[in-house]
């Protein structure tokens, strides 16, 4: 695969860069999904690789490079099934896309930080999408055909970003402008009225474009207290202002305030949404407020109790989130962390428990474990798509990873992981349960 070769070249060229991060993993993934009497299985060898680097040209100018190959979400049902007739899953939505993401940029550090970058993401095996905002009436159909539906698939996504952060004394000004262009293919399906067969009677391609701009002004009254105001705009560049979006925010923030053994962070924000389409969809536009607070209490050396909360209120809107966690860290960087979180008042009210450990058995060899279970209560689902009664999901994750370092910044790693999703037949939001085993390397210099 040429993307893997590009990653290998980057890896060999890594010493040229001032700082870099490289990680490459080869997976073997087994997946399984049940539907009725059918059991759909797959076994695929998948790759994950990421490389980020900075190449200094002069004290003020840097080149930024990034390449990410992500195959790991992919899962296709081409393996043996319980019933030969069911060798191909009827649920195309369970086929998840692979992607390759490459980015290059130029950064200038002088009057603040200015960067210009270009990013391209290629989608393989992309999901069909159903964007009502695309202009799908390209041509008039052949009179021998009766229209039976369009199939739109993402092909690639391009992003051009200009970012400028200017600190002036206690003030900071940020301008962040992003152009996104989504290239898609469109197959127009039809039924031939003479032969009674379905066919594709036309294939087209198009680009959906929008421009996101973010501007903000910040004032650091004190190192631990600041005020800011900002605006986030989305402009639809396809002559459809209905999909424009404007969000205005003002915020007060207390950052990392130390009170005895407590480290406290809080923020209070007000926001105002304006969007014709949001209003049409029934979402809360207009004013709203968000309160966030987090405290880390040091019980003993290396022993922490963490708690955070956020409340969001607006017209007909009240959402809350709480999280509590306990963490113990040792001098050799071994640690254990466990926590609980809950979200209420939203459309997807979830609760979850997690436990993460990292244990350095020797200075070179560590074993990490990660386990989590998440539950979504059925009472909270308000979907516009289909009958929401009784819909809920359970997700459970278990993973063990061993890492062996041969130098301070180079390690070999290997692990197993398993993700369980409960099955909801005929739900297009369903994911297959899957397990994987992987081997890889990780290296970084900062």
């Amino acid at each position: 695969m040429k993307q893997a070769a590009v990653l290998a070249i980057f890896f060999l060229a890594a010493p040229l860069f001032a700082d870099y991060q490289f990680e490459f993993k080869g997976y073997d993934v087994l997946g399984e999904s049940r539907s009725g009497s059918g059991v759909y299985k797959s076994n695929a060898g998948l790759l994950y690789g990421v490389f980020n680097a900075t190449l200094p040209l002069s004290p003020a100018w840097d080149i930024l490079l990034s390449e990410e190959l992500d195959d790991v979400l992919r899962l296709s049902y081409d393996g043996p099934a319980a019933n030969p007739v069911d060798r191909i899953s009827p649920f195309s939505e369970k086929k998840l896309p692979s992607s390759n993401n490459v980015a290059a940029g130029l950064r200038f550090t002088g009057l603040g930080t200015l960067s210009l970058s270009f990013k391209n993401m290629e989608y393989w095996d992309a999901l069909p999408i159903y964007p009502e905002f695309l202009q799908t009436n390209y041509v008039s159909a052949d009179p021998n055909y009766v229209w039976s539906g369009d199939m739109v698939k993402r092909q690639s996504r391009n992003n051009i970003n200009a970012y400028w952060l200017i600190p002036i004394s206690d003030f900071s000004v940020l301008a962040d402008i992003n152009y996104f262009g989504l290239n898609y293919s469109l197959d127009q399906g039809g039924a031939n009225i003479n032969t009674f067969t379905d066919t594709v009677f036309g294939s087209w391609s198009g680009t959906y474009q929008d421009l996101w701009s973010r501007f903000s002004l910040g004032w650091a009254i004190d190192p631990a207290f600041n005020l800011s105001a900002g605006v986030l705009n989305k402009s639809d560049l396809n002559d459809n202002s209905k999909y424009d979006l404007h969000r205005y925010t003002v915020q007060m923030k207390g950052n990392q305030v130390t009170l005895g053994d407590n480290n406290f962070t809080w923020s209070l924000s007000g926001r105002w949404y304006e969007s014709e389409q949001m209003k049409e969809n029934g979402f809360a536009v207009g004013p709203g407020a968000l309160l966030y607070a987090r405290d880390v209490f040091t019980l003993d050396r290396g022993l922490f109790l963490k708690g955070s909360m956020s409340l969001e209120v607006g017209h007909n809107l009240y959402k809350e989130r709480f999280e509590f966690a306990f963490r113990k860290a040792w001098e050799n960087e071994s640690s254990v962390e466990t926590g609980y979180f809950t979200n209420q008042g939203g459309l997807f009210p979830t609760q979850g428990l997690y436990l993460r450990t990292k244990n350095y058995l020797t200075p070179r060899f560590s074993v990490s474990t990660d386990s989590k279970s998440v539950y979504e209560g059925p009472e909270g689902f308000y979907s516009k798509l289909i009958n929401p009664d009784g819909i809920r999901f359970i997700k459970a994750i278990g993973a063990i990873e061993g890492a062996f370092s041969i130098s301070k910044h180079f390690e070999f790693l290997g692990g197993v992981d398993y993700t369980y999703y409960n099955s909801m037949a005929f739900e297009d939001t369903d994911f297959p349960s899957r397990g994987g085993v992987y081997l890889g390397v990780r290296t970084w210099v900062q």
Binding site: P97, P131, Y243, F341, F348, P349, G352, G377, G380, S383
Partner: protein
């Protein structure tokens, strides 16, 4: 007066502490991305069937004008940052 105030405080604390989902989902609620949890990994971007999610400033931003509330991003997020 003091008793009423104390009752109100106790009620609020108990309410916040029970997490039984008494707070009904509001019709006008939209998905929230927890900026403190999101690291901009982009898993949500890949699974979104409506092309409604972009990464801006290393955080996921959900476009309310495209989102159809299918919940795929909620399920796939490794950091449970979307709710």
């Amino acid at each position: 007066m003091k008793k009423n105030l104390r009752s109100a405080v106790v009620f609020i604390l108990l309410c916040l502490g029970c997490f039984q989902g008494c707070v009904n989902p509001s019709k006008e609620s939209f998905l929230t991305v927890e900026e403190t949890s999101c690291i901009g990994c982009g898993a949500c971007v890949k699974v979104c069937k409506y092309d409604a999610i972009t990464i801006i400033g290393n955080k996921a931003v959900i476009d309310p004008s495209k989102c159809q509330l299918c919940g795929r991003c909620v399920k796939v997020c490794p950091y449970d940052a979307i709710h």
